[in-house]
């Protein structure tokens, strides 16, 4: 319920952010994702502010890269007090991205900094562009 209210609030406040994380049938929230590609690798970034790195899971099944985990609400002071505004999502999240080319599952690396998860996926050899020598006969 509060999520619907938040989304409506967001529409009024911020009509330009309709790129907001899509929420599908999955009971939870989904992080915003960007994908970069160059000839050697695909880099996926996911916005996950306020996480602990041990609560983030990254897995690959075929070409499907899944990021999932849980963002826990801090107990401390917040709980007891009065809440005026709650626009942040907490709880479980999941996001699956189909990678555009095959990648080498053993060489995937992930790092988490400033609330952004960066996953670097080197392309598998068959997906890399190959230079073909033109011979003269």
């Amino acid at each position: 319920m509060s999520r619907i209210r938040n989304q409506i609030n967001q529409l009024f406040e911020d009509p330009f952010s309709l790129t907001a994380p899509p929420t599908g049938f999955f009971e939870g929230w989904s992080p915003t994702v960007d994908i970069y590609e160059d000839k050697d690798k695909i880099t996926v970034t996911a916005e996950l502010p306020g996480m602990k790195k041990e609560n983030i899971d990254v897995s690959l099944h075929g070409n499907a890269l899944t990021v999932s985990g849980e963002r826990k609400e801090e107990e401390e002071e917040h709980r007891e007090g009065e809440n005026y505004r709650s626009e942040r999502y907490f709880g479980r999240f999941q996001r699956t991205i189909t990678l555009p080319t095959p990648v080498d599952p053993n060489k995937i690396q992930a790092s988490y900094r400033d609330g952004v998860l960066t996953i670097t996926c080197p392309k598998s050899d068959e997906a890399k562009p190959k230079q073909i020598q033109v011979k003269t006969s």
């Binding site: 967001q10 911020d14 695909i42 505004r85 942040r88």
Partner: protein, 127 residues
């Protein structure tokens, strides 16, 4: 009564957003007896990219993303890739000289202490 209200002077802000220069970061605001707590989500911003100002009763937070992006061509994009800005009007019960800020993994946490006279107080009954 709400001691921290979204700044009603929307013109400058909405104009900046229309230009694509800024997006408003999602916020949580709560209160305890002693302070108000504001959390803002600004992924991609570190301590050095923050600019927090209090002018009269207006609190403005600007968060600039670091310029480094992954190599390659951006082939799919959902994030706004813009800097963050949001401003709030503060009530008179906040001691603006004692605001504390902390940045942790893209979440800015502000603690705005209530001024002494605004805190709840027990009245001793004499006699």
């Amino acid at each position: 009564m709400n001691a921290i209200a979204e700044n009603q002077n929307q013109t400058a802000r909405t104009r900046a957003q229309a230009d694509g220069r800024y997006v408003a970061p999602p916020a949580n605001i709560s209160a305890t007896d002693n302070a108000y707590l504001v959390e803002l989500e600004m992924p991609g911003v570190d301590k050095s990219g923050l600019e927090i100002t209090v002018e009269a009763n207006e609190l403005t937070i600007i968060g600039r993303r670091k310029t480094e992006t992954p190599q390659g061509e951006l082939c799919y994009c959902e994030s706004a890739l813009a800097d963050y800005r949001r401003s709030f009007e503060l009530g008179p019960d906040i001691d603006t000289s004692k605001i504390e800020a902390e940045m942790d993994q893209g979440v800015l946490k502000l603690r705005l202490p209530k001024s002494e006279k605004a805190k709840p107080r027990k009245v001793q009954i004499s006699g």
